[in-house]
């Protein structure tokens, strides 16, 4: 097996045992990247020099017999909306095309401390707004299973890179499904932890009350490993939880099959692709065989989730993106500016893409005087109702299982002219963001045309440990996660 095909944990073990050096791993990885990246275009920026420098440092530590971190020598990619000191962080937007942050995001600090090696920054829909990667200002990333298809979004770059083995694991952000949906489309494991579990400091905000940093990995064990590193309280994020972080790794295989699994009817209704539906039903059967009890559920307010989401998310986005005005950093128009309003207009007209503009307009509309009560406030109330639905459900079940997305990956260009159809692609992932609960997507099958299908497992607040175990139980009995696309 080639080194880049191994999981993060496997490569780490090899490096620690000195079967391979970190520098060799990086060398082989970049060879592979050179070969396959032109096909996939997962990255916006690669940091070859930085990667070798860090690899050298890790090798030196190991040679000296010094203690190394949990991610010793593991190549990691970062979605390009996570700030990295000295490396461009563009959010796939022209407005931040040349922006180099003077500081590291909390999660970046953490993985550096644990001796991970940052390979580069991956593509996304501009400011994480989109479900296909087509909203990137720079290029469209391809789905490694079928390069005519989108990899999903917004974190399509991270998911495609992990699937194409051009990195071992990646961090993304999940505001409405941006980690889980692309993971489902690309056939890897995507986990969005509880809101507050991972510090958002240094994650460029899209919708602050929904954004959460998550992991994209080749298997569930790696997800546990990466989450172990990045979880925990951060004094720089007021919404970061002080709830203690349990050990996700050591007893991940120790799970009682005697689970109560909720199956919400609202997640299996109209619009669900039949192949996706039956793959998930088959997966549920596997749980049943392991002793699980399937419990039919209703989450009656979930039908309003997408509408609620697009009010709250756009409202917050309109405000979060107001700072991109060209005054302190970022794009500045080359055209002459007569006054400050002129300057703002040009900077923003030239700097933002059309989907971002659409959402800023929507957000300003729902917050404007006279509409606030009808839209934002009402959406906040509906959000509470959806939260109550889940709270009631979790009184009866250990976790909830559903498809991650209603369809497999669609073709490039297929939905780009129909924003509403595009938005519906997140219909099953959005509720977890509105409620703040953790969710994980694991591969559970393939379509006839060979596209991966993802299954979503949702858990209670701060119960990542449980959903990781439930996911691992499934993974242990299946081999979907081991399948590799042919990259030609």
């Amino acid at each position: 097996m080639l080194s880049h095909e191994l999981s993060a944990n496997q490569i780490k073990e090899k490096i620690i045992k000195r079967e391979i050096t970190a520098q060799e791993v990086i060398e082989e990885l970049f060879e592979w990247i050179n070969l396959k990246e032109p096909l996939i275009k997962a990255y916006l920026c690669l940091d070859r020099d930085g990667a070798f420098l860090k690899a050298k440092e890790v090798d030196k530590k190991l040679d000296n017999g010094d203690k190394v971190g949990l991610l010793a020598g593991v190549p990691v990619a970062l979605k390009d909306n996570i700030c990295t000191v000295g490396i461009k962080t563009t959010c796939a937007s022209k407005i931040l095309e040349d922006f180099i942050p003077p500081y590291d995001a909390f999660v970046v600090k953490r993985i550096k401390e644990e001796d991970a090696i940052i390979i580069g920054k991956t593509n996304l829909d501009e400011f994480a707004m989109g479900s296909s990667n087509e909203n990137s200002a720079f290029h469209v990333t391809r789905n490694p299973w079928n390069t005519d298809c989108i990899p999903g979004g917004s974190g399509g770059g991270s998911a495609a890179a992990v699937t194409a083995d051009t990195v071992f694991m990646a961090l993304g952000s999940d505001t409405g499904g941006s980690v889980r949906q692309p993971s489902a489309f690309c056939g890897n494991v995507g986990c969005k932890p509880t809101y507050g579990r991972v510090s958002r400091y240094g994650l460029v905000a899209f919708a602050s009350s929904l954004d959460q940093i998550g992991s994209v990995t080749k298997d569930v064990y790696d997800a546990a490993l990466l989450l172990q590193v990045v979880s925990g309280h951060d004094g720089f994020d007021s919404t970061s939880a002080t709830v203690g972080v349990p050990d996700y790794i050591s007893d991940i295989n120790n799970v009682d099959g005697n689970l109560k699994i909720g199956v919400p009817k609202e997640f299996f209704g109209e619009g669900l692709d039949s192949e996706v539906g039956s793959a998930v039903m088959n997966a549920l059967e596997i749980y049943k065989k392991n002793g699980a009890e399937l419990i039919d559920l209703s989450l009656p307010h979930c039908g309003y989730a997408v509408a609620t989401y697009y009010i709250i998310a756009t409202a917050e986005a309109s405000s979060n993106l107001a700072r991109y005005d060209g005054v302190r950093y970022g794009h500045r128009s080359q055209l002459s500016e007569d006054n400050i309003i002129d300057m703002y207009s040009r900077v923003r007209a030239e700097g933002f893409g059309s989907e971002v503009k659409r959402r800023i307009l929507l957000g300003n509309y729902v917050l404007s005087s006279g509409f606030y009560e009808d839209y934002y406030l009402k959406a906040s109330k509906v959000r509470n109702l959806i939260r109550n639905d889940f709270e009631d459900a979790f009184k009866k079940v250990d976790c909830i299982i559903s498809p991650t997305c209603p369809t497999p990956a669609f073709r490039i260009g297929e939905k780009i002219t129909d924003p509403l159809q595009m938005y519906l692609s997140d219909i099953y992932t959005i509720p977890a963001n509105l409620v703040g609960i953790p969710g994980i997507s694991v591969p559970c099958g393939f379509t006839n045309t060979g596209l991966p299908i993802g299954m979503q497992i949702l858990g209670k607040h701060f119960d990542e440990r449980k959903i990781l175990k439930v996911a691992k139980l499934f993974e242990n009995g299946t081999d979907f996660h081991l399948k590799k696309p042919e990259l030609n």
Binding site: I82, Y201, V204, S238, E316, S319, R323
Partner: protein, 480 residues
């Protein structure tokens, strides 16, 4: 005037904290531009705010001191508008759940008390500062973000004020309270205390409010008083002509002393307030309120009352003493040390200490004459007389020495020995027969002359009271 003026005031007070509201940057005034900034207060992508607890506590303390109802649940909101000095193009403020609501401040105008209702007290972040280049034709401006993110307390009154005097008294009373409780240094020259006024006129006796004009950019109490006069005249002349006063926001120009239209009602900002998702709500429980209450010192109004009752000084003097907490503390320390003569100490402080402080542009805390030194001076005064005491006071300021040591050094003690003085007086009468004769003829001023001559001989050490008696006795005896 046939109109009644109706006014409300918004006061912005920068809170006195070491660091900014949402980051660790210093709040020091007057540093090199943009040296007190970080990713958070510059609004870089990805940063998040973390509440400065001290700033919140200061706000709570202020809200309590202004007799507000304290909200059990408080939250922050984003107020959106575009301006280059606002790094995020929204200001984190409070709109839906303020720290304090429905408070009041009691003021005294022309001896009469009046209650000014406070609509709300809330906490928000300060913006940066635009610097416009002085070169003519420059087509750019610079921004200094040192101030961006400094905690700012906003205190909003109801439109309760009806005269310039009321507004002036309100501003002074409020400033005094904020200084007393130590939440703001209220330095207007550094922009720590700023105002926005809303002013409308209506026919006397009318119950309907006139169109309200809001005036921004009032950076001193003086500017507020000027703008009121300006607006009253501007608005009343419009009304006299039968024209409408436009509901609008105007900007005060302190150089030209005029207000100018900034934007009309139609152009008013829609601030698109919504709850700040990056901060968590703050719950204020009774325990916290009680705890904070214990940190509030006696406020100026009650202190003034107590001074009148306890030290039997005039209300006017008590007003002067309590106008500055430090001065009031100085006075009370003096009284405590001397256990006597509060009236005399009050006079010394109001007449002499204050004059020196003003001349030296210093405050009583840094004043070289400590309460103990002042008390010693007052104690030794009967032995040296008032006029020498004043000289000694000046000497104390110049040298830092105590009154007893100055008196001793210069042997300034007054001669109180009657027999010794008798001899000197006799000699002076002998040497000035004309004056002695004049006094005998009823010319009172002759006595003053004779006493002056005696003072010369004794180098001012003779007790003038005793001298007068000796002279009267001797001269009346002589004329018999």
């Amino acid at each position: 005037m046939k109109y009644e003026v109706v006014m409300g005031l918004e006061t912005h007070a920068e809170l006195d904290t070491e660091s900014k509201l949402f980051c660790g940057c210093s709040t020091k005034f007057g540093s090199e531009p943009n040296t007190q900034t970080c990713p958070v207060c510059l609004g870089l992508p990805g940063v998040l705010p973390v509440m400065n607890k001290k700033a919140f506590e200061h706000s709570l303390k202020a809200a309590l001191s202004l007799s507000c109802e304290i909200s059990e649940f408080t939250n922050f909101d984003r107020k959106s508008y575009y301006y280059p000095d606002l790094p995020k193009n929204y200001q984190t403020s409070q709109n839906y759940f303020n720290i304090g609501n429905n408070g009041y401040v009691d003021i005294v105008v022309k001896g009469k008390e009046k209650r000014i209702d406070i609509h709300n007290v809330h906490l928000e972040e300060e913006a940066g500062k635009l610097v416009h280049p002085e070169t003519s034709g420059a087509n750019y401006s610079l921004v200094d973000f040192n101030r961006a993110g400094v905690p700012l307390l906003e205190i909003v009154t109801q439109p309760d004020m009806r005269s310039v005097e009321e507004v002036e008294s309100y501003m002074q009373t409020l400033r005094n309270i904020l200084l007393y409780i130590g939440v703001s240094d209220c330095k207007m020259q550094e922009g720590s205390l700023r105002f926005e006024a809303s002013i409308s006129l209506r026919e006397k006796g009318s119950n309907v409010l006139g169109n309200r004009v809001e005036i921004k950019n009032l950076n001193s109490m003086k500017a507020v008083l000027k703008v009121i006069a300006y607006e009253i005249s501007r608005q009343s002349s419009l009304l006299d002509k039968g024209e409408d006063v436009l509901m609008e926001t105007r900007l005060w120009d302190d150089v030209d002393s005029v207000s100018r239209r900034m934007r009309s009602k139609e152009e008013a900002h829609d601030y698109r307030y919504f709850p700040e998702p990056d901060l968590v709500p703050v719950w204020i429980d009774q325990e916290w309120i009680d705890e904070t209450r214990t940190t509030i010192p006696e406020l100026p109004v009650s202190k003034r009352q107590r001074f009148v009752n306890e030290y039997t000084i005039s209300d006017y003097d008590a007003g002067i003493l309590t106008d500055d907490k430090l001065l009031a503390d100085y006075f009370e320390e003096c009284v405590g040390l001397s256990q006597d003569s509060p009236k005399e100490l009050s006079n010394w402080i109001i007449n002499d200490v204050l004059r020196e402080l003003n001349e030296r542009k210093t405050n009583v805390q840094d004043f070289i004459v400590s309460p103990k030194m002042l008390v010693d001076l007052v104690k030794i005064k009967p032995a040296i007389g008032s006029s020498i005491a004043k000289d000694v006071f000046v000497e104390m300021i110049n040298t830092g020495k105590t009154a007893p040591s100055i008196v001793k050094e210069k042997s300034l003690t007054q001669m109180g020995d009657v027999s010794e003085l008798n001899d000197i007086v006799a000699k002076v009468i002998d040497e000035n027969p004309k004056a002695a004769e004049d006094y005998g003829k009823g010319k009172k001023s002759a006595l003053t002359f004779l006493i002056g001559q005696t003072m010369k001989v004794t180098k001012g050490k003779a007790n003038p009271k005793i001298l007068t008696e000796i002279f009267k006795e001797k001269l009346s005896a002589g004329s018999k």
